[in-house]
Amino acid sequence: MFSANAKNLLADYFKAMKNRAKAYLFYGRLLKPLIHSAPKTLINITWQDSIGNVSVFATNMLTTRTTVALKVPGATKKFLKIFNGNKLVSSTEVNGGENYNWEIPAWRLLYLIFF
């Protein structure tokens, strides 16, 4: 039987793939990680879609929320949107080259996209 965590991850995944994730997880290109010094309890990977937008997918495998720092790509101002499945969790403006602190809940499939 699936655990509650696995059920959440799969539900998030399939909703995400019907939203924006397919451009990355299916047709994307892997980039070097934007999250530096990620703890072993955080699975994360950086993708780029066919039009150049950069995305980071992550799952926090702790039982509590965790915060990681990632470097915003490029040198110009960007819109950062964070999704869980097909839901927009938050959006903000960030500056290229600066660090962004991302708070990630436990055992959900989260992804952020820089536009």
Binding site: L9, L10, Y13, M61
Partner: protein, 194 residues
């Protein structure tokens, strides 16, 4: 009943044998498996004919499971079949022709979403197949294959059926890795209920 079918259809002489001449068997996932030898005339048309049946049924994705060339499971000591013992480039030639003919059949039927995969990556067939069955990304104790030359022939390297969740073994960590690293989800339940 299946044993009778196997014997009546000359199964013993079509399958791989061990060095001592006995039939190579594998007890896996609750069943006993034997392996068709690539040196037989039978195998030279078996997959193509099976594929035609699958195409007739509307199936467009075909996966050749358990064919892990050039891993050790390909050895055949059946001297009656006339091939070099136990390995040889003849194995590659046979499977290459098999894949080519399946691809040709799919093309002749104008199948849009035709997708041919095999178990494990190998550079030997990446000009033929579109994706590979791989294992958990976190199985770092295994040899890791990176089929770079796949990009010579394809725009993407796709991987399927990663056992990201497997009854009794794979963990939620494996599942998370499979999804986030972009592998097409695959979960093994081995005859158990979900």
């Amino acid at each position: 009943m299946l044993e009778n079918f196997f014997v009546a259809d000359n199964g013993v002489n079509l399958c791989r044998t061990k060095l001592d001449g006995s039939l190579e068997t594998l007890n896996l996932e609750g069943r006993i498996e034997v392996f068709l030898c690539r040196g037989t005339e039978y195998i030279k048309t078996f997959m193509q004919e099976t594929s035609k049946t699958l195409f007739d049924l509307g199936i467009t994705a075909i996966h050749n499971d358990f064919d892990q060339l050039m891993a050790l499971d390909g050895a055949s000591f059946n001297k009656s079949l006339g091939h070099l013992i136990p390995y040889g480039s003849w194995q590659i030639d046979v499977m290459s022709k098999v894949y080519s003919e399946i691809i040709a059949e799919a093309k002749s039927r104008n199948i849009t979403y035709f997708y041919l995969t095999k178990e494990w990556p190998t550079e030997l067939f990446n000009m033929k197949i579109q994706g590979y069955q791989v294992r958990n990304y976190k199985s770092l104790n295994d040899t890791t294959y990176i089929p770079l030359f796949h990009y010579v022939y394809h725009d993407f390297v796709s991987s399927i059926y990663g056992f990201g969740w497997m009854q009794g073994t794979a963990t939620d960590d494996d599942l998370a890795a499979m999804l986030i690293y972009g592998q097409l989800p695959g979960m093994a339940f081995w005859q158990s209920t979900i």
